[in-house]
């Protein structure tokens, strides 16, 4: 009897601690969100920010414009991008039972890069046509459309292959090779392009959180939301997959349909972020490890929401660094995520001696 109540207490304690951590993460998210709004190239006092956020009147028209048109969309983009890439990475790590997997292992992000390369690097003056169209009322969707098409094409290819290939390791390798093929095709395209076009494409590859205006942000939000909902729905399957495909099946989890949903979810999450923001690396690999470390569990029912929040926080933090507050230069976000994230993962690995077992 005593033992039983003891057991109950300890599991309740766990639930309590986990809720506490999630609450802390949510709080951290709000803090970093506000920090992100506060820091930028132009100095805007905190009081003004609060006034503007609450919809009050302000004398500083320019500041209001900056907060509303630039900083808020950018911060929201950071939240969406960070959370989407992280949950995508988490699913890939569990699915392939590989601690170094990220959302790009299936080649989805490379497919997006290929689509964009075709548009930006095409020979001659085609870019000029698209350039003009970008600014007109109708045609500002060229790059996003091309990136989405590229991701979708690779996604379809991977799904078809996954129906034929049973073994996950094979699927992983095929995904990586498809990624390499698209990168090679982009290189060939670059080879035939003018230097200005190459430089322009290069800037795209640095990634940017600031290029998504509010009226396009809602599309990204919806796609990320759908991808996230699918991921949460996969929590039970992902948990089962932790033990391997055979055990998962023996416990009633349909591995073949789980595969499809997991691939679709990851593609939506990673493909949409790449289409809107360009390739941003590393976040998808690092954040799941950080979250596992913090929450101390591999239970995806807790891990997925935790990863959402942690990913958003990390991206907001990286964005703050990328803004180089106080100066007018900005650094490319993709480089910052790698710089900030790598030491963090090294620290996590050192703390936990056994990486292979500790990740999942």
């Amino acid at each position: 009897m005593n033992e039983r109540s003891q057991k109950q207490i300890s599991s309740e304690k766990k639930i309590g601690i986990r809720s506490l951590y999630l609450g802390l993460l949510l709080g951290g998210l709000l803090v970093f969100f506000l920090l992100n709004l506060m820091l930028g190239s132009v100095d805007i006092p905190f009081k003004e920010i609060i006034t503007i956020l609450s919809g009050g009147k302000t004398n500083h028209f320019a500041w209001q414009k900056i907060i509303i048109n630039i900083r808020i969309p950018r911060a929201l983009t950071a939240i969406l991008a960070g959370s989407a890439l992280s949950v995508g990475g988490l699913q890939m790590q569990t699915f392939f039972r590989n601690p170094l997997a990220g959302p790009s292992v299936l080649g989805i992000t490379s497919g997006a890069s290929l689509g964009v390369a075709i548009v930006m690097l095409a020979a001659g003056t085609i870019t000029s046509i698209f350039a003009i169209q970008q600014l007109s009322a109708l045609g500002s969707w060229i790059i996003i459309g091309a990136a989405s098409l590229g991701s979708a094409a690779v996604l379809l290819l991977i799904l078809l292959i996954s129906l034929k290939v049973r073994d996950n390791v094979t699927l992983l390798i095929i995904g990586l090779m498809i990624g390499n093929i698209t990168i090679a095709m982009v290189s060939i395209w670059q080879y035939f392009s003018q230097p200005e076009q190459i430089r322009d494409y290069l800037i795209w590859t640095f990634g940017s959180l600031g290029g998504v205006p509010l009226n396009r942000l809602w599309i990204l939000a919806i796609v990320v939301l759908v991808g996230g909902i699918i991921a949460i729905g996969m929590s039970k399957s992902l948990n089962g997959l932790l033990l391997g495909e055979n055990y998962a099946r023996s416990m009633g989890i349909s591995v073949s349909s789980s595969r499809i949903w997991i691939i679709v979810s990851t593609s939506l999450l990673a493909g949409s972020v790449t289409a809107f923001c360009g390739p941003i690396g590393f976040v998808g690999i690092a954040v799941p490890h950080l979250t596992r470390s913090l929450l101390g569990t591999n239970d995806h029912r807790v891990l997925i929401p935790g990863t959402f929040l942690m990913g958003a926080i990390l991206m907001l933090a990286c964005d703050i660094v990328a803004q180089v507050p106080g100066s007018s230069t900005t650094l490319p976000i993709s480089a910052i995520t790698s710089l900030v994230g790598s030491p963090v993962v090294i620290w996590v690995i050192i703390k936990r001696k056994n990486l292979q077992a500790s990740f999942s």
């Binding site: 599991s11 766990k14 639930i15 809720s19 999630l22 609450g23 949510l26 998210l29 709000l30 930028g40 190239s41 956020l53 320019a62 500041w63 209001q64 414009k65 900056i66 509303i68 048109n69 630039i70 900083r71 808020i72 969309p73 929201l76 969406l80 930006m120 020979a123 001659g124 003056t125 870019t127 000029s128 046509i129 698209f130 003009i132 169209q133 970008q134 600014l135 007109s136 109708l138 003018q194 200005e196 076009q197 322009d200 494409y201 800037i203 795209w204 940017s208 600031g210 290029g211 205006p213 509010l214 009226n215 939000a221 939301l225 029912r301 929401p305 007018s328 230069t329 900005t330 490319p332």
Partner: protein
Amino acid sequence: MISRRYFYPFLNLYTCFWTVIFSFGTVACQSSSHEQQSHQTTKSISFPEQVHAEYAKGFRITYHKNYKLLEVLNPFQNQADTLRYALIPRDLIGNVNVRDARPIPIPIQSMIATSTTHVGVAEMLNASDIIKGMVGAKYVYNSNIRQKLDQGEIASFPMGAFNKEEALNMQPDLLMISGGQASQFDNYKILIDAGINVLVNSEWLETTPLGKAEWVKVLGALLNREKLANQKFSAVAKRYKKLKSSVNDIQQKPLVITNMPYKGAWFVPGGGSYNATILRDAGADYPWSESKDTGGMRKDFEVVYRIGLKADVWINPGDAKTKEDLLAKDSRFKDFKPFKTGEIYNNNRRMSPSGGNDFWESGVVHPERILADLIKIFHPDVIPDHQFYYYRKVK
């Protein structure tokens, strides 16, 4: 262990998260919507001085009661995906509503320039003091602007990702952009949504030298300085045409190659491009004149090399200043005929200490100077008294 007791609090947290996101989104959305007014106007303004595009294909200006309509056309497509700007006098702004056109209050008093070409255009109309921000400060030639940049009177914007916050903080009347920077167009779009007037100066798409230069009229319309713009441009056009006709009938055309190779590829201007046109107008024999390409063409090193062996003149060899520079890049150049005869000319005569080249700055609005230089290179006896302006011999 994970019981329903736990699931609902978690669900609350998740809902919280998305509510936070969407609520910020909606508040921001509402704040940024533009208001539209349409009142009856009592005042009526007409514009005595007008500019029109004769050579340029990329823009069209029409004059109406109380406003000027500037359309930036895409010269390469039949249906116009045009950008429309309504240039409205300051005191009438808000009272005049032009359908499908972005209102710009004129005359503009402040501008952010993103290319040194814009500096050249402004300088021609004596309006370089309206430049309050500049991208690519180190490429500026104009000493006045350079000084102001050094002193901080003009804000220097970093190249690469455009700093939107600084631009918004400055609230300029106009942000002028040009060039194929497709990667930045998202940023510009955001600024447009935030109320900044972004003007696409697509002079870079023009294929004729006069068409390019004529874009000065666009700035003229923006500044209410049409008279000056017409004056300046007519002078340029007149001189250009005179120079052109002076070499028109000459049969003996020197063979010319241009540019420098890079890693086995040699980019040369296409036959329909600005560069090829001006070479033809200067009476030179350009090997790829027949091609219809309006941009650059990628040729193999050997293809151009073969021509270089027997060409009469080599112009624009990258940034080379001396023959040693050329040999350092590739020793095979010594076999070129122009190398042996010394007929190599580069457009870097007017350079600023930090590497700014006036050829790109004022050269765009003064094609007659470039033409004169080129004629002096190809047919020196036609204009014996002319002194090189942009070009110099590579010794």
